[in-house]
Symmetry: C2
Subunit: 446 residues, 2 copies
Amino acid sequence: MPRKGEMKLGVFVNQAGYSEGAWRDPSTPVNGSIEVDHYARVAAVAESAAFHFLFLADHLGSVEQGQASVARESGNAGLEPITLLAALTARTQNIGLVATATTTYNQPYHLARMFASLDHLSRGRAAWNVVTSASKFEAPNFGETELPDHDTRYARASEFVKVVTALWDSWEDDAFIRDKQSGIFADSTKLHVPNHQGKYFSVRGPLNVARPPQGYPVLVQAGASAAGTRLAAELAEVVFTAAPDVEYGKKYYDSIKEKARAVGREDNQVLVMPGIIPIVGRTKQEASDKLQRIQSYAHIDVQISLAERMLDVDLSSIDLDSLVPATLPTTNIFQSRQTVLLELAARHKFTWRQLIRFVADGRGHRIIVGTPDEIAENMVDTFNQSAADGFNVMSATLPGEFMEFVELVIPELRRRGKYRSAYAGQTLRENLGLMRPLNRFTQASR
Amino acid sequence: MPRKGEMKLGVFVNQAGYSEGAWRDPSTPVNGSIEVDHYARVAAVAESAAFHFLFLADHLGSVEQGQASVARESGNAGLEPITLLAALTARTQNIGLVATATTTYNQPYHLARMFASLDHLSRGRAAWNVVTSASKFEAPNFGETELPDHDTRYARASEFVKVVTALWDSWEDDAFIRDKQSGIFADSTKLHVPNHQGKYFSVRGPLNVARPPQGYPVLVQAGASAAGTRLAAELAEVVFTAAPDVEYGKKYYDSIKEKARAVGREDNQVLVMPGIIPIVGRTKQEASDKLQRIQSYAHIDVQISLAERMLDVDLSSIDLDSLVPATLPTTNIFQSRQTVLLELAARHKFTWRQLIRFVADGRGHRIIVGTPDEIAENMVDTFNQSAADGFNVMSATLPGEFMEFVELVIPELRRRGKYRSAYAGQTLRENLGLMRPLNRFTQASR
């Protein structure tokens, strides 16, 4: 059954591309991960296709797991996402800019300031992907031996975001009068001191940045565990998720929308956008050859290391040709991903080798291999079934596969009336159809 | 006596300009403080005159001191410096980019990453001005009631910088091989885990950013207290300072160079660059009229509020026409500035009103009012006397006074052979004549 409206699209930029070993692809510039021109080029391609946003992941550590895999690991030489996006504000015009930042090893005042600044620099195109850290390599960089308990991380995240939005509301939108004649810069009745005293934070405020053009930068979140979906339903305006197939995606979509409705939020203010990894070929054969080529980039040691991290398991003494068990000890790290991957492995009766391969290809995200027509059809079908409001396109290689997607698949989506041909507004909120949050204090005085 | 070589110049960018009330000047764009185009314009003027760097101050709080002064205070609506400079990397080519960041309310891993990233984004033009926080408005934004003790802040700063430089050395310069053919991305023997365990920090590392193009971004520091000069002598490559007159400047210059020599550092690797506020007129009369006009911008309430903060004193019940006393209770906040201002007041027998005026004009920095010829002569003389290796030009209004300086004073400096006409190198280090630090681990293995 067709569904009204058009899908939203983001491009997920993971250095050289989302597949393990993507950096070996001929299309990726050799120093790309630390080269702003590489990211600017991907942004330009995305903007030419009116993508809603460009999305940068993050983690606060280097991946180290034995000499062999350190040597083949490509994620240890990157750029910090907020500074990178700040640089891209000057090289883009319309696309939204999403930076990931953890609430576990940050302070609300810093992040409130940086994202407010990014929103001013981009004239209202900033978004914050709120994460709680899911890598064991982070804790020791901040004086801790391991990550705080999963639910503690989420409780801290919830309070953290409350503090940040209160800081963004410190000054009402029209607080700064700047009357050169009289010398009055601010209407002091429009200053509101958050004075937050909570379990995890004590932050007086006010922020020393004017309220962001969007009111708040768009809030993105990717929770899928019990605590994670609660947080998503409470605050996420864009929900990023790994849905390895439509079946899982539909279930997740319904559950998020229902939880959001329960806290009084409108369906169209909580956009569920799972990742997809499109492998595009002009023919079926070309697509599957391409998948094989891309798969050949990832050395088995790197694949195993990645699977160990995503699942929080030690595979060193496991027979890779044995079946994946139905359960593993519950992890404190990446709970939702562990659950999704184990469910998937059970459904498809995966051996460890098959699961490791699947993780290396897309870390649990859905891979669609086919012709432009097939990929577009698949996306539209997922959209029509209300299993997604749009997608995060996580191209296997950058810019290679992403350029193919834009050239070949975007026209098919447009032909089906499911994707726009130009930007509708200036801010990311306008482009996503999200309301601009009223300042809580302005609201109170009405 | 003439001195060999040329002076270095930085431009200090304090939103609308350095004088209190600068935002009221006709030359300043009304929304300038949150408008990237304003900063980009100043940067373009500076680059046209081959300035060595653009310098952004910072503080982690809003200034609030009674309703009246909040209304007239212009510093509460700015942009965060690191993100702002990241945006400017894309709009500048040669100029160095100095961001201030405090070690008191940050974590080394974050700052190491951000500055490394800024150095990559700018192709080697980043610098970090290390400060320890000197505003009572900061602590409550980070869960504390007041700033840590002055000496504790400096001890923490010293350890903080050690951790950051160790993180920058995590990967040797040529650690990332990126051999697409073999799939070897990194030479794992060139990875060095800092594993720092100290009094204030425990940081394992390694950093997940490649070593910065400059090895380390240039380290700037402005210590002038006992603890502050120790830190400057130990690590600063550019020393920023407030020297209200040449007499004080010469004393400070000699003391820093001597302390640096004592720890084995070369004179030309520790550049002392005091601030100056040039008020340029085509005639003496024009210059002094201009000073009067600029002074008229700052309301007395704002002037008093600023002086109270700089000196850590309550002026509400003091007769402003009485003489400034020789001493005040030692402050835990801005120790060196308090000392400098009290010494100056004693030398000139200032009343409180005069000292408040002096602080409002330039917060303790030297003001030079005159014709282009007089200002250039004054600067060259200070340089020749070895009371400065160069200057931070802290124009009273931006871009107004800065454009006047570039148009009128720069040619006079060049005519005297004391200022260059083009950039000498690509990186800020090259332009300042600073050595690129060898990676400590590379060094050890030679």
